[in-house]
Structure formats: C-alpha cells, structure tokens
Symmetry: C2
Subunit: 392 residues, 2 copies
C-alpha cells in the first residue's frame, strides 16, 4: 500500500511541467538551491546541465538566508530571517516541512550525523535544536551570559561528535554544546572573549574557530583540539585599521577562504584581504583588492580565491592567486554580485547577480562563461556537496 502510494506519487510527478524533476530516478550530488531573496522562493538547480529544475515558493523572508543539506543530499534546510526553518525536497520541488521557530534568526547548522538541525536566533536569542526529519523541537539552549542576560547568538557551526559552537553577541562569550544526549545538552562556556562578537566561523577541518569583534579591534581564536579550551586574541589590528574607510557592510566572517595552512580574511572597512598563517595565527601578508571584500571563496583546490565587494563596487569580481597574493583577473559580471559557489571539484563557479535577475556560470580555469540561469533577485547559492563538509 505504501509502496503503491509512492509509485503513484511518482506518476503524479509526471504531471508537473518544466521542472526536469519528473523523469523518475536521478542522483542528487549535482543539485543545489538558489535563494530568491525578494520573493521568498528558492530555485532547484542542476549543476551538470547548468539549468533550473524547479521553483519552490512560500519559504518566508529570505532577505538573509542560508542552507544546509541532509546526508542523502535530498533535502535542503533553509534558515530565513523571519525565524523560518524550511525543509525543501529537491527531488519533488516541494516543501517537506516548515516551522517558524523564532522571531528573527541568523543561521543554522546540521549535526555531523545529520539528525539534528540547530538554529541561531537574534530574537529571543539562544539556539534551538530540531529533529532533521520531523522538525519537532528537541532542545532549547537559552544563551544567558555571565552577566545574567539573554543574548543573541551568531556564528553557529557544527563540530564532530554531535556538537555545535556559537558566539553570544551581547555577552561576549563562545559556547560549545555537546548534544550526544540531546535531552541534556552539555555546555562548555568560554566567557569574556571580547566585546560584541558579530560573526564566527571554523576552518574546514573544524579545528580553529574564529569570531570577529564589533566592539573592539581584533579577532578571537579557539583551537577546538586543545583541552581545556581557551579563547585567545589574534590580529589585534584587525578591524578599523590605522586609517579606516567607511564600512558599507560588515564582512561575513564565513566569507573567508582557507587554503592549505593559510586563511584569507576580508579586512573590515578596507580594500584588502588579510592572509593569516594557521600555524602561528599571525598575519602573513595582504592582498590589495578592488573594493571592500564581502566573500572570499577558495576554489576547492585552493589555487585561486574569488572575491566580491560591498556597494558601490559590487559589480566586480577579483580572482586572487594564492601563491603570490596578487589579483590575476578582474572582471565585472554585472550589477550586485552577491554570492559565488564552486562546483564540488572546482571546475565551475556560479555567480548570483541580484540586479540582473540572473545567475552566471563560469569555467574556473579559463574564466569563460559557460551558462546563464534566470532568477528573481538571486542571493545565496548552495550546492548539495555541502552535505559532505564539517564546520559548515
């Protein structure tokens, strides 16, 4: 009965035109989601065919949005600005679950076993955790700092062993939550790490957590492999710099690039990337760029880093050679370059052009254009290969 129903469901799919998803069996390793920020919709895309397969509407306020994927690479979890957590079925182009879990959220993560979805909230603050299949809430972690007040949380990432790390914006703390027993989360608190951590991220091996500070210069570093854990300050000149330029947009710290034993971080308020040596966490050089970097995205082999910029210089992309730390190619793909996502093995890169209502696909070796996809005010691009990565 259940099998017959599934078979019938597959037949029904044949009635959905223009999706490319009705053909029956297909793999999911070459799929992705593109956020349409103004319309609360997402596109399902095929990175091999370089085409749109379907559109899903009713995903809420996507003016800030991010996505993680289930281990089978069938479901995408969209974290919207309105506190919405939406589970999208990429094979049927349908919403397979949605909860509005808070008043205002800023991002999420999926546990290493794929079973838990954690969401970082501005309002009411804290982190809430959901069953990845049912979206039922399974844990609530209020972020009450050493000052006794509830805090917004930012920079939420997953760690091995069903753990998550995040920063408390108001309290200036970094917490690690171990959810091996989800009914009794075990929290490790690092207090007094610095004023107003506004974003955080972890290296691709999930070892080094860094949080940028809005309330003072510098960055906080936690080496997750050390015991006991401790927060240490690095890059004390990071932030406003000697002669600050106006800051048009706080750079996403998730916008850094990791290449071998170096990180390239967007410099706050400056037309530069800062190279950091991940042995010493000292500065290892700077890259002069076209504008204030927003995202610095490494080609998967690390040979090049693609960089986009804040308004008003946001029509341009710089491509940086990571051996020489020089820009080797600069071009203007179109108005409002918001995001870049490489195919998993780095042969191509997708670029969202919000004000051109278009996503362009480039060859990552020759920089030649390979394809274009129409999209309504596209912002973030997320491919299913993210399901294979830790520290998302």
């Amino acid at each position: 009965m259940m099998i017959a129903a599934r078979f019938f469901a597959a037949l029904l799919l044949l009635a959905i035109p223009a999706t490319g998803l009705a053909e029956g069996l297909r793999g999911t390793g070459n799929l992705g989601l593109v956020i349409e920020r103004a319309t609360g919709s997402v596109l399902i895309v095929d990175t091999s065919a370089r085409e749109m397969l379907g559109r899903v509407e009713g995903v809420g306020d996507l003016s800030h949005a991010s996505v993680v994927f289930s281990p089978d690479q069938r479901y995408g979890y969209v974290f919207g600005r309105d506190g919405g957590l939406t589970r999208i079925d990429l094979l049927t182009a349908k919403i397979a679950g949605r909860v509005v879990q808070a008043g205002n959220s800023i991002g999420g993560a999926i546990s290493d076993d794929g079973e838990l979805i954690a969401v970082s909230n501005y309002e009411p603050g804290g982190v809430r955790v959901f069953d990845a299949r049912t979206l039922a809430q399974v844990a609530d972690i209020p972020a009450t700092g050493a000052d006794g007040k509830a805090s917004k949380t930012v920079g939420l990432v997953d760690l091995p062993g069903r753990r998550f790390a995040f920063a408390l914006y108001n309290a200036g703390e970094i917490w690690i939550a171990d959810l091996s027993k989800v009914e009794t989360p075990a929290i490790t608190r690092l207090t007094g790490v610095g004023k107003l951590p506004y974003d955080g991220n972890i290296t691709p091996d999930s070892r080094h957590y860094l949080a940028g500070l809005f309330g003072e210069d510098g960055v906080v570093h936690v080496d997750m492999w050390q015991s006991p854990l401790k927060a240490e300050r690095i890059l004390d000149r990071y932030g406003h710099g000697e002669e600050p330029l106006p800051v048009y947009k706080m750079p996403h710290l998730e916008g850094w690039a990791a290449i071998g034993d170096r990180l390239l971080l967007p410099a706050v308020g400056r037309h530069e990337l800062i190279a950091v040596d991940t042995r010493s966490f000292a500065e290892a050089g700077r890259v002069a760029t076209h504008g204030q970097p927003v995202f610095a995205v490494a080609r998967p082999d690390g040979r090049h880093v693609w960089v986009n910029f804040a308004h008003p210089l946001n029509d341009t992309i710089d491509i940086v050679d990571t051996l020489t730390l020089k820009v080797i190619h600069r071009f203007a793909p179109g108005p409002a370059v918001l995001h870049m996502e490489f195919t998993p093995r780095g042969n191509e890169v997708w670029v969202s052009l919000r004000d051109a209502d278009r996503v362009d696909v480039y060859d990552a070796a020759t920089f030649a254009m390979k394809g274009q996809i129409s999209a309504q005010k596209p912002s973030g691009i997320f491919f299913t290969a993210r399901a294979t990565r830790i520290g998302q």
Copy 2:
C-alpha cells in the same frame, strides 16, 4: 487504472528482491559500494541506515579494485584487475555499461568535470580515456618513456582543468596529461625522476604529487602549482630504512593520511608511520604502530588517523592522535581488516573484514560498534562523497 498501476508496481518490486532500491525517489549522497573481491560482485550500501541495498554481479576480477563516482553520485565506475571498467547504477543496482579495456589495469580517475574516465594499465601499459556516459574510448596515451619502451603506469590521479597525473613504472617518469581538448592530449613529461615508481598519490588539494620508488630509497615530489614543473627527491631514508624488516605488502601510497599541513605515510617494511611537514617536505616525526601499516586513513576532521596492517598482524586497527602522534586506541575487530572508509563528515567509519565475511560500522568518536553488514570477502569500501573530491 490505479489498480493496474499498483499491480504493475507490485510486480516490479517482486522482481528485485531485498534491494530497497525499488521504492522510487531517493537521494544518493549516503550511498556507497563495497567490493566483494572473490566473487566479482559489489554491494550497494546505505550509510544512514547502515544496511545493504543490493548486490551487482558480473563485475569481473576484483582481486584489486577501486571506484570513482559521477558528479550526480548516481554511478560508480569500478576499475578491476582484469582491465574491466564497469559503470554501476546505484539507484537500480544494475550494470549500466562495461568494457574490458586492457589486459591488466591498476586504477583510474575521473576528470574534474565528470566527463572523462581515465584508466591506468599494466598491460599494455599507458593510459586510456573513456566517455563517462557511453564508455566509448576517446583517447589513448601510450606511455613510451625516454628509453623508447612502453611502460606500465601507476598512481593515476585527476588534476583541476581536465588534467591527470601518473607515473611510468618502467621508465621512471611522471607525466601530466591535459585533456581540455580530448582529441589532442597535451603531455608534460618529467623524466629521470627515480627508479621504478610503484605508486603515486596527491594531497587532497591536488597540489603535491608524491610517488614511492621501488628501485631505490626515497620519494619523488612534484609541486603542481610551480611553473615549470620539476620532480624533487624527499625522504631519502624512506624505503628500506636502516634495519629493514621483511616487507609483507608494499604499502599503498594512496594509504596516506593528510592532516592540516602534515602527511602520515606508511613506512615501507617498518612498524611505523612517518609524519611529513608539507611546507618543507622534511620528516616531522614517527608513530610507532602495531604492525606494517597498509592504509592510514584520516577522520575527515584530521583529529584521528585509523591504521590497518599487513599480514600476519591484519586483525588489528590502531587509532592515532594526530596532535601527539601516539596510538590512543588499539583493537582487533576481526580477521583480515582490508579497508576503512569514513562517512563524509566523519561521524562513523566502515571497516571491511575479509575473513569474517562482514563489514562493521563504528562510531568514530566513541569507537562503539553501530552496525554490521554481511558481505562476501569484502575488500574496498567507497562512498559516493568521493565524487566531491579532487585528486582521488
């Protein structure tokens, strides 16, 4: 109509017993193949459910076998010892193409765009290249060394930009083939690199290619980011060492582990791993192990390395802490541990036990057993997440 559809669906299901694959749509990110070396068959497995979904027979001589995957993670390409190249459809558990392309082959690779399959041959030597969909031959690269003789090829890996690297066993050369124009392969030849390179591998960022030498001590290193390319000798004591132990099995050089800016290589003929610093390519320490290492496999976050051993100590696994370079856990899962494969984000690891006819699944954080799967003389285990990696 509906009754007929149900009846037809039921009939279809009856024809495919015990596969779990007939239920219709499913993602492919959590699938894998297990080689059954004695019976020329492969199992299709689900890493989330920790179960077997189906068996495919007729895959030829799998006494030495490896697998790469298509970008959509639907198809696995099995390279057999008999020169067979078999395309397996993981969603239907059927052979979707097979050619016996040479007399004796040793491995293969898939181009970064997923369009070309390259196979490294002992007999007649050289590398042959096939269309990934049709398995039609599209290029033949005879490996004729500077000595004018045809050579066996080993250590074939993919590089960005539709390129492949491999070593010429007889000629002592390393070649890089650029197949951007597949009808006219462009070959870069590094000659006189050392005697009898028996295996080669590349770091996960596809930058550093290393080949082990059978004919002399030491290892050859090529930094693929430098121009012009050159081969340099490193680890001059690598190989037989001061007081050599009998070598029961040449370690697979693909059996190394890459962790941050270090590699852990199996030491030939010794009960040790050698740590190599990937800035200097100098030795950075040794790890004393239970036996002669065959595979050293890094947990995806690099915190631990799991090591199996050559006969007669092949019932044991050592788990090495990569910060301290000490064995922190040693256990004997069963007779003839042949291979280990981590789930993509490293929460679990699958271990093949040839002489127990079984694959065991362990929790990679607690080392607790999570499941067991029956298999006929299992050897290699390959998960579809390999489709997302360069330098396979």
